[in-house]
């Protein structure tokens, strides 16, 4: 499972991609993914709107994740 990070999420984590190895510890839903990321990177938990896309589609927290899913974390950006 590959997670691409954009905007401030990339800055917080310090890289543009995270890999979750198959099996143990791999989040099974978007909600669980958020919790896993937030416990590893508490600053992510402070973002009030953080869009999550799975396979290029914006998704809600209930969505069940599958092993090959490509996930993107897309926080809002403000610059102009």
């Amino acid at each position: 499972m590959e997670i691409l990070l954009f905007g401030i999420a990339k800055d917080i984590v310090g890289k543009s991609k995270i890999q979750f190895a198959a099996g143990e510890g791999q989040p099974t839903s978007v909600k669980e993914l958020r919790q896993t990321l937030e416990s590893a990177y508490p600053d992510l938990g402070r973002l009030s709107s953080m869009a999550v896309a799975v396979n290029s589609e914006y998704v809600r927290d209930e969505l069940i994740l599958k092993p090959g899913d490509e996930i993107a974390i897309i926080p809002p950006v403000s610059g102009g």
């Binding site: 800055d11 869009a51 896309a53 809002p76 403000s78 102009g80």
Partner: protein
Amino acid sequence: MNPERYSRQTILKDFGPEAQQKLAKAKVLVVGAGGLGIPVMTYLNAMGVGTLGIVDLDRVALSNLHRQVLYAESDIGKSKVAVALSKLKAQNSNTDLRSHEMFLDRDNALETIRSYDLVVDASDNFPTRYLINDACVILSKPFIYGALHGFEGQVSVFNYKGGPSYRCLYPKMPKASEVPNCDQHGVLGILPGIVGNLQALEAIKVITGIGEVLSGTLLLFDGLVNGFQKIKFSSLPENMIIDRLQGNYELDCGLSFESVTPETFERLLASGPLQLIDVRNTDEFQSFHIANSINIPLSELARRKGEIDMTVPAYFLCQSGIRSQKAIFELEPFYSSARLVNVTGGINQLHQYAAKY
């Protein structure tokens, strides 16, 4: 008008004189005459959009020039809208150019947007972005969104023919402390040029009906790998029914604090010495600062807070007024009786000083 002027696009089979006619009739409002706004207005003006309104109250500063390529060194200190209008007038004398020298706020947004068909959000802050969204939903106007972060950009078209809005993507406005802006985080000069041009292209498509509009699609651009990604999203009914603007679009800081307007602060500065804490980084401070101010970068505040005299008022200043708010929030729990005052809008809004930086 000489038809030769637009011939290279009117000979395009899928564009033609009909699309050119639609451009000529279109009224577009560009909110922000900065990094994004410049490519948007330059191309819309060149391509023959009939009416172009520009909203901004900023003045040209030296640190704008690396990305705001319409402005010259000799424009520093001048009103962006005034400079932009005179250059656009020279570029295309047929356009009805309209100046709105103001910041968009809840009192002027509806009235201003009402007389345009399409809005381009080329602003640089969340309060303006949410205000544009809500006003456009109320008035049923589509708007072209573009935003930047470092080497990345986002583009989408919101509220287009029943399509989703900005709030369908990001329902709540982030708090002041969450996401930095270009002043704090930095932006590669060419990035707004790329993203603003993508916005201009979407504007042309919305007006003329050619191609597929980025409605319900968020385009993500990563300059470092020259990568584009499209994310699909749909509208949520609760975000599409807005009947009035919110009472307030200020960044929600979750805490209250004392603040001073830029005008009052300039008068205070002129009237005598005051304790002024500049929380920008050392390099920003070195390149320009207000005389007798003390530089304590936000990142060093916890360690160096003892250097501030809490028995007299302390004014906090940064580039745009966001980091100075954070500084106050950080100190408030320790010094509940101290007078910690935020200089609203930071150096950007201090006209006498802004141009020098």
